[in-house]
Each structure stands twice: as structure tokens, then as C-alpha cells.
């Protein structure tokens, strides 16, 4: 018998929200599998998954069309959606923990814009790098440049918006606007300088879509995002402590500076890689952690893995909507996520307006 039960006979045993969140992890993983299967079996060409599986099971050859549709179009697109969705949702959760604020999101406060500038720099000026370096970096060059851009803007933003361990929401959002404007100006100059081929690359990249998914893009993003996702859960305890303030986190035995630096690096890596391959897809980082906090509470040890799963599921789902709603044409996925996400953002803002002092 625990002490609590002894002191309060008959009282309902407190619900452990972390336990609930761990059970939710299993549900979310199953949901991701289901959504992935549906995503693989739906599309403009009408290739269905079951005939293909049956064909594989009975040893029949796939038709050339089926193979191209499944292996070269739908599968890389699915994997990219899973990676990008997980990366954006985890980045959002990490930034919110770091800034101690549920409105912090890489897309809103200018980190994605910074990563975007890095990507544009790589597209336009990448040709100026020594040839050996270009070959060595290969398809990673945009991802790496986006990572550096995202990292610089996160560090800048943190310096501006946080003073003595406290983050001013107003400063954070305004600094994000300023950062995005500055990045926009630089990007404009680069676009102006770009030649025709580069312009085409930029246009496709800037659409913020999974439509251009290829195995090359998957391979360019996967190592960075998977590494970031692997490191993120280790920040859970530190971010929980930070919720009580920097000083208290320190007294709880947390190396505050280490946690902050690592969180910024992981955010920059995940956001950078996601932006490099999919352009700016917004609001996943706001919506997913918000829903999970409502469901199972703010404990980051459970929030971070669950955010990865729900983010992946949500983006794959949004991608299906973007492919099917105006089929055979495609709606850019950024539009779908904005339609879902912007109202959630406004709802948080309205609910917390008084406590945020806005």
C-alpha cells in the first residue's frame, strides 16, 4: 500500500498521464501503419495495393506501370512524408519546450525561413563551390546548407527573444517576423541572380510539397532526420525541468546549457533537412504537440516520441488529401496543413491571450 492510499482511503488512485501516453504510442504507431498502407494504395493512376501484394505472393511479375507507380513514385513519397512530418512535429515540440511556450514553431518564428535561405544559397551559389567539394557533398548540399541556415536563425532568435532565462512571447514572434523579412530579402536577391535552370529548381522547391519526392531526396534527408529523431527523446527530462524555469532546472541536476544547445542543434537539423526536401510546410509543429498535450499532458519524455508518430501520420494524411481533393491535379500540401493548423494556432492564442500578456 502506498502512502497516498494510506492517507486518503477510498480516493481514486491518481491517473499517471505518462503511462497513458505510453499506451498512446502504440495506438499512434498502428495508426501510422494503417495510414501508410492507405496512402500506398491510393493515387491518380488507380493502382491498388492488394492486387500487387497478391501478385508478389503468388510469384507473378509486376507490371512495369505498377512497379513504377509503387516503387518509384508512391513509396519514396510516403517515406518522405513520414520523415518530414516526424521532423516538423518533433522540432515544434522541442522549440516549445526550449522557449517554454506553446506557440513557438520553426515555421512561425523564422527558423524554416532561415533554413530556406540556406537551401536557396545552395541552389544558386552551390555551383561556385570547388568541384571536388560539390561531388563529395552530392545531394546533401541543400540539406546541409538548410541545416546551417536553420541553426543560425535559431541561435539568433534565442539570443534576441530570451533574456535571463525568460522568453518574451511578443519579442519572440516579432523577432521571427523580422528574421523572416530579412531572409525574404536575401532570398529575393538570390532569386534575382539565379539563371533559368536554377529558377526552375527554386520554384519547385518553394512550393512546399512532397510531389517531387525521389529516392535521392529520401536519402538526402533520412540520415539527418533519423539522427535528430534518435537524439530528441534524450532531451525529455531536461525540457521537463526547463518548464519550471532555468534556475529550477539547474537545481534538479540538469545541465541547462547542454540541453539548450543540443535542442537548438536538433531543431536546426530536423527543420533544415525537412525544409531542404519539402520546402516550407507549416503548422505541423504547432498542431501535433498541442493535440498531444491536451490528450496526455506536457511530459516531454512521452511527448517527443508521440509527436514523431502523430506528425508523420498527419502529414501522410494531409498528403493524401492534397492528392485526392482536386484529382487528378494536386493541391500543394502546405495549403492543407495551413487550413488545419492556422485555426489551431488562433485557438491557442485566444485561450492563452490573458496568460501570455498579449
Amino acid at each position: 500500500m502506498s502512502i497516498a492510499e494510506g492517507l486518503a482511503p477510498g480516493r481514486v488512485r491518481p491517473v499517471d498521464r505518462v503511462q497513458t501516453a505510453r499506451r498512446l504510442t502504440v495506438v499512434l504507431a498502428l495508426l501510422l501503419v494503417v495510414v501508410s498502407v492507405i496512402s500506398l494504395s491510393s493515387g491518380a493512376t488507380g493502382t491498388a495495393l492488394w492486387p500487387v501484394i497478391r501478385a508478389l505472393a503468388t510469384g507473378q511479375e509486376l507490371s512495369a506501370l505498377d512497379r513504377i507507380v509503387l516503387v518509384d513514385i508512391r513509396l519514396p513519397r510516403l517515406i518522405l512524408g513520414v520523415l518530414v512530418g516526424a521532423a516538423l512535429a518533433v522540432s515544434g515540440a522541442l522549440m516549445q519546450g526550449l522557449f517554454r511556450n506553446p506557440l513557438a514553431d520553426p515555421g512561425i518564428v523564422g527558423v524554416s525561413a532561415g533554413a530556406g535561405l540556406g537551401a536557396i544559397l545552395a541552389i544558386v551559389l552551390g555551383g561556385l563551390l570547388p568541384l571536388a567539394l560539390q561531388e563529395a557533398l552530392g545531394s546533401y548540399i541543400i540539406s546541409i546548407a538548410a541545416f546551417v541556415g536553420g541553426w543560425v536563425s535559431t541561435v539568433l532568435l534565442y539570443r534576441v527573444a530570451t533574456h535571463g532565462g525568460r522568453t518574451s512571447v511578443a519579442t519572440m514572434l516579432l523577432a521571427g517576423i523580422a528574421l523572416a523579412a530579412l531572409v525574404g530579402a536575401f532570398s529575393g536577391v538570390l532569386v534575382y541572380m539565379a539563371d533559368d535552370a536554377q529558377l526552375r529548381d527554386l520554384t519547385f522547391w518553394g512550393m512546399g510539397s512532397l510531389a517531387g519526392a525521389t529516392w535521392t531526396k529520401v536519402l538526402a534527408a533520412a540520415p539527418i532526420i533519423l539522427l535528430a529523431l534518435a537524439v530528441a527523446p534524450s532531451l525529455g527530462r531536461g525540457l521537463n525541468g526547463l518548464a519550471l524555469g532555468e534556475a529550477t532546472a539547474m537545481h534538479l541536476g540538469i545541465s541547462v546549457q547542454r540541453v539548450k544547445r543540443l535542442a537548438i542543434l536538433v531543431v536546426a537539423a530536423a527543420t533544415g533537412a525537412a525544409v531542404a526536401v519539402s520546402g516550407g510546410i507549416g503548422f505541423i509543429g504547432i498542431v501535433v504537440p498541442h493535440l498531444l498535450r491536451l490528450a496526455t499532458g506536457p511530459d516531454h519524455r512521452a511527448l517527443l516520441p508521440n509527436a514523431a508518430l502523430l506528425g508523420a501520420t498527419l502529414l501522410v494524411g494531409a498528403d493524401m488529401i492534397s492528392r485526392s481533393i482536386v484529382a487528378p491535379a494536386e493541391l500543394p500540401i502546405g495549403i492543407v496543413t495551413a487550413v488545419i493548423g492556422a485555426p489551431v494556432f488562433l485557438a491557442i492564442l485566444l485561450r492563452r491571450r490573458t496568460t501570455l500578456g498579449l
Partner: protein, 260 residues
């Protein structure tokens, strides 16, 4: 806990001017003094929240050479700031303290800590929906859950508190002070910044009276809380009374108004 030659400079202003500090385990050491005398600054310098020069030792070990997790296993700190980002429940906040301390594997401590502070029914309430006093008691429960047993392998555990009763009603002030006295009596160390001189007189074993970043007087409450010393510290004529049976000094604002 020993501090020697503690200097703190914030901006261009030196707040603490090389003061010495000592507190013993098994006692409540109270830091008192007027507003701006450097009470909280001294506490923050000792807990490492602000940069300070000087030598500081806890249980005979140099604090500067201890890792955050080592310190967290022998010392818990309650600062004045009580904001918690995100909707954590009361129990979850207390568990954050519990899981950071050396008794993390011993079940039931967070619930017991809440019970000691009269918060049994609050475990599932959201922290940010509580009143200021309830938040303050929750934070104290968190501190207590971190260093639950006052002695660990013959080494005392410590709590550092910055005005732990400032938001509490008089009933809960006594609950908290009794709890601290019990912690000290069982061998733990308690260092607390106090605003209320009467509670200090009742509960403190050792009083450090500060003024202008220096120690004006130190000793037992009877030695420190005298008319002359307090009047000098607070720049106002103050008169201390002593009730016959206990001899514990007390101040009545009524008796001090227009005194001198």
C-alpha cells in the same frame, strides 16, 4: 555549508561585498534584512543561480567542483519564481523534484510530500489553476520530495528556500515552518531567506541579519533581534518585546509606530 569572501557584481554594481557565511546541518539558518540588502542575492550566489566569486563548500566539498546532478542529490532549492510552463498537474510537478533526487526509486514520496503540506486532494489539479499560496506549497512539496530523507549515508541533505511562506496564510505558515523545523531536527540543513521577523524569532536556530550587501549581525534570534541592531538594519526605530514564559523576542508594529 560554508561560504567565504562571497562577492557578487550585477552590471557595474557590487551587491555583496565579500561576506562570510556559515550554516550548520540540523539547524534552521534564517537570512533576514531589509529590502535590497542582498538576502536573495546571497541565496542565489550559494545555489549557483548567479555568478559569484569566493569559496563555497557544502558538506565539506567545493561546490564549484560538483556536477549539477551531484548537487541535486544533496540539495534542493525553492526560488521565488513559481511559474510553470505547460499544463502540468500538481503531482507531476512534485514528481519532477522526486525523480531528480536520490530517492527516485522509492515510491510514495511525492504523495507523502503533498500530504505533509496539506495538498492531498490536489494531486490531479492543474498547477497553473492554483492560487499563489497553493503554488508555493506545491513548490515546497517538490523541494521536499527531492531530498526527502534529511540524512543520506551519514551526510546531511539541504534545502535552500527563498521566502517560503511569503504567500501563505498564517495557518500554513506554521505548517511549513514546523515542517522545516522537523527536517532540521532529523539532521537536515535548512537555509531560508525570511521576511517575517516574528516567525524567524520562533523557528530559527541561527539568524544572519544583512544590510547593504554585508552581514550586520549573526547569532541566535535573542542575540540578533535586539532594538539597537534591528533599528540600525531597517533604518527605523524598532522595539522588541519578550513574552514572559518563552522569552522569544517579538515585534508589534503597534508598539513600534512612532517609537524612539
Amino acid at each position: 555549508m560554508i561560504g567565504k569572501e562571497i562577492h557578487v557584481t550585477l552590471g557595474r554594481r557590487e551587491i555583496l561585498h565579500g561576506l562570510d557565511f556559515a550554516a550548520q546541518d540540523g539547524r534552521i539558518t534564517a537570512i533576514v534584512g531589509p529590502n535590497g540588502s542582498g538576502k536573495s542575492t546571497l541565496l542565489k550566489a550559494m545555489t549557483g543561480e548567479i555568478a559569484a566569486t569566493g569559496q563555497m563548500e557544502l558538506n565539506g566539498r567545493d561546490i564549484a567542483r560538483m556536477q549539477p546532478w551531484e548537487l541535486a542529490s544533496v540539495r534542493a532549492v525553492q526560488s521565488q519564481s513559481t511559474t510553470v510552463a505547460f499544463p502540468f498537474t500538481v503531482l507531476e510537478v512534485v514528481r519532477l523534484g522526486h525523480s531528480a533526487g536520490p530517492w527516485a526509486s522509492e515510491p510514495g514520496i511525492p504523495e507523502a510530500a503533498l500530504a505533509r503540506l496539506g495538498l492531498e486532494g490536489y494531486a490531479q489539479r492543474f498547477y497553473h489553476e492554483l492560487s499563489g499560496g497553493e503554488q508555493q506549497r506545491t513548490q515546497l512539496a517538490r523541494v521536499l520530495a527531492q531530498v526527502w530523507h534529511p540524512v543520506q549515508d551519514d551526510t546531511p541533505s539541504w534545502v535552500f528556500l527563498d521566502e517560503p511562506v511569503s504567500s501563505l496564510d498564517i495557518g500554513h505558515q506554521f505548517v511549513v515552518m514546523d515542517l522545516l523545523a522537523d527536517y532540521a531536527a532529523r539532521g537536515g540543513g535548512v537555509i531560508t531567506v525570511m521576511h517575517d521577523l516574528n516567525l524567524t524569532a520562533i523557528y530559527a536556530d541561527h539568524v544572519v541579519l544583512m544590510k547593504d550587501g554585508q552581514v550586520l549581525a549573526r547569532g541566535t534570534p535573542a542575540q540578533v533581534l535586539t532594538d539597537a541592531t534591528l533599528s540600525q538594519a531597517y533604518d527605523h526605530p524598532l522595539r522588541v518585546n519578550r513574552p514572559a514564559p518563552s522569552g522569544v523576542p517579538y515585534l508589534l508594529p503597534q508598539a513600534c509606530r512612532g517609537a524612539g
